[in-house]
């Protein structure tokens, strides 16, 4: 049996992930099958099952990688920001600077929410989504609490609920980006103003 390096394994994995994402995007998460992924990847069935046992497992790996990448990015930027307000600003701007009609981004969004819907039928998958959501909420919650300690943000605000609301805003504009004439920037900019205005102390 040949000795396979970690690097080789990682490369193969990435190849499978890319290929699987294309299948999910094209057919929809629900409809795409492991067989589609095998056919599209040009690899053998055995080779793919060596790395992943199901399309759910593949998607979760994709999602975890994307989320981790975002977190690295956020934390790198947060290290440079002095105030909690500028961190919140940065988070909103990360979404304001996205191109809402970029095909690849839209596909990513559609597949993500399809996976969410699919997960309502599977408690284990739902648990994983729940844990990811908690991580996102605590990222924002930490910033809000920091701002409250520094006197930048209102003291009497329920920080965790407020953090949860940030992600509802983001989910909303992302979900509606599938509509052709959704004014993504204007809506998000206005929601951002509204959110920050309520957050900041006088």
């Amino acid at each position: 049996m040949p000795i396979v390096s970690e690097e080789y394994k990682e490369e193969k994995k990435e190849q499978i992930l890319d290929s699987a994402f294309e299948c999910f995007a094209k057919k929809g998460f629900q409809t795409a099958t492991m067989d589609d992924i095998v056919a599209h990847s040009g690899m053998s069935k055995g080779a793919i099952y060596n790395y992943f046992s199901s399309k759910e497992e593949i998607y979760l790996d994709l999602l975890t990688r994307a989320t981790d990448k975002n977190f690295v990015q956020y934390n790198k930027h947060f290290a440079k920001h002095r105030t909690a307000s500028s961190k919140m600003d940065y988070l909103f701007n990360a979404y304001l600077s996205a191109n809402p009609i970029d095909r690849n981004r839209l596909e990513y969004i559609v597949v993500f929410y399809e996976f969410n819907l699919h997960s309502t039928r599977d408690p284990d998958l739902l648990k994983q989504l729940h844990d990811r959501k908690r991580k996102l909420v605590s990222l924002v919650n930490d910033i809000i609490q920091e701002g409250q300690e520094q006197g930048e943000f209102k003291q009497d605000l329920a920080s965790e609920l407020y953090a949860e609301r940030f992600w509802t805003i983001i989910d909303g504009v992302n979900l509606h980006a599938v509509y052709d004439d959704f004014p993504y920037y204007d809506v998000l900019r206005e929601l951002k103003d509204m959110y920050l205005q309520e957050l900041k102390s006088e």
Partner: protein, 203 residues
Amino acid sequence: MPIVSEEHKRQRRNHILLSAQHCFAKKGYHITSMDQLVQHSGLSRGAIYNYFKSKEEIYLELMKGVVSREIEPIESHIKTLPTNIEKISYLFDHYYLLEPMCEEQKEAFFVQLDFQLSASRNSDMMNILDELHKDMKVKLVRSILQEGKNAGELKSNIHVDIFTHMFWSFIDAANMQRILFPELPYQSILMDQKQSFLNKISK
């Protein structure tokens, strides 16, 4: 041949649609077959084909029904409210009061969301969805905001279209989260958003 009343036909049709809603929400539209729809409805194949030509047609009719069932109760309640501020306030309250959501409501939101996502790959579906969204949801909120502006209840500089989209994008996302994670405090989040929204638009 027995004479079937219009009322009976209407009930049959609704029964088929609600039964299909349940199947689509449980299994997903694409995976559900016409045979499964027949089986779950408890009717005969012929009876179903009397009303609908295909699974696609059931899906489209279901979507239309789902959106009007969501909007009609809001519209009829809103008519009884004297001011536009109260109407906007009620828009949020309506969703706040759907707690806990019954299975049928969950399924209705699920099917809408699923349709929206599938429509991103199919321009015919997207056209239908766009039309439903504009004619029912957007129109309702836009007209209240516009009237509120005209009546001098709301700030004159608010952009009616933008605030309409702000409302629906937030509500749709909140409803999705409630389907996924019923244990989260979505009622509080809706009430907080309502307060921020009202602060921003009221004079």
